[in-house]
Amino acid sequence: MTSSMSVAKVKQKRIAELISHGKRLDERGLNDYREVQIEVGIIERAEGSARVRLGKTEVMVGTKIEVGEPFLDVPNEGVLTVSAELVPLASPKFEPGPPNENAIELARVVDRGIRESKAISLEKLCVTPGKKVFVVFVDVYVLNDDGNLIDASAMAALAALLNTKIFNYEVKNGEIEIKPGYTQLPIVDYPIAVTFAKINDKLVADPWLVEEQVMDARLTITIDKDGKICAIQKGGYGYFSMEKILEATKIAQQKAEELRKIVVKD
């Protein structure tokens, strides 16, 4: 995320020095994540919902299911759409208004993780081929930004999807008739995003706010349940060497497995 708040030079130096010695200001190891807390089903009006706390970063995701038209090139598939809002109350940096480049990037990175891992069985969301399908809206709502919104949002989105139920229905005369009961949204993969900050040429996983303000580049790697890479996004005004990228990939696979166990409790 681009930041306009600057950190005092003395603090910047301290953070960089600590990191050269494998330590962080909050005493985590370079590859350690902050504590993750997840609650699901908190918004009854939503078809699915989850709130993730990653340290002090807090993100809520709500899912809504509507009936809509399929895309022309995939007439028998449901539609997934992800959006994100950096609401002003989450940070002094966020201003009211339409989503800016940071919100849009956040939504699209979370979207790619879910879409490319084919986490949702979109073929099962077809109501009338070519005419009516279910549209799954995943809305990411950032409540407090203390760093690493991407990973927190991705976990919250996955948890919300796992929590999502669609009403049972029957198609009569081309119209949808709602029947009693619900069915879980068919989820077959569990993508987890792992983000690193590069500070003083070292990688730190799950950067918190101060580290984000000091980093020169950011790398997000999304891993599916089989350990395959389904999305990558480099951010920030700096760069990576190929060696660093491959190093990050290895760590990401390991962290993704750990985080997945927290999100998918089945």
Partner: protein, 247 residues
Amino acid sequence: MSRKTPKKLINENGTRLDGRELNQLRPLKIEVGILANADGSAYIEQGKNKILAAVYGPKELHPKHLALPDRALLLCRYHMAPFSVQERKSPAPSRREIELSKVIREALEPSVFLEHYPRTSIDIFIEVLQADGGTRCAGINVASLALADAGIPMRDLVVACAAGKVEGRLVLDLTDVEDKAGTADLPLAFMPNLNAITLLQMDGDLTTDEFEQVLNLAIDGCKQTHALQKEALKAKYVAVKEAVEEE
């Protein structure tokens, strides 16, 4: 209106729909300094891609409160013309264009000596006149040349190329059809003399081994493209020198 995706993108001989080998770039044509008003400009044709880039700056930034006290602000706008794609695209910036504007800016930032020009802005405009996959990479290629053409001091040129996986094979420089029907697409931007990767995105499905191979393939494509970038930058000076020597 929908177009049907062809059944097979790569035949048994490993030849792609447009006749290319798996690791072959599309034919490239690059020209530098083609717009009169811009401080720097460049144009590229890569396969069916036609993309123009222009640079204005460094110039004083107004409103002043947006300016940075210690460096220049890089502003980048990636935009597609309504007629650039099969189905007319609305001129209003889409979410994709906004994201690409951001990642392209971040791909170019490490190459410019922004600290030399505090309180100014350097504006980069990328216009996609015709699109056929890999437009962000081609856009970075011309934007970097436009910056050099504007006389803005740079650490290195930035060169970009995409590689991916189509029908189980690893390929270089995907067209739109290959990207849509393929299983992975990885655009990458690179500063060749500094060995620094400044843009990296991937969407698809790759094992870590495949990922490393695709990464190397993209970097190889970048190195090939870099040679053509340098030629284009030197071209007009070389032409004048040759003309003078003939006199």
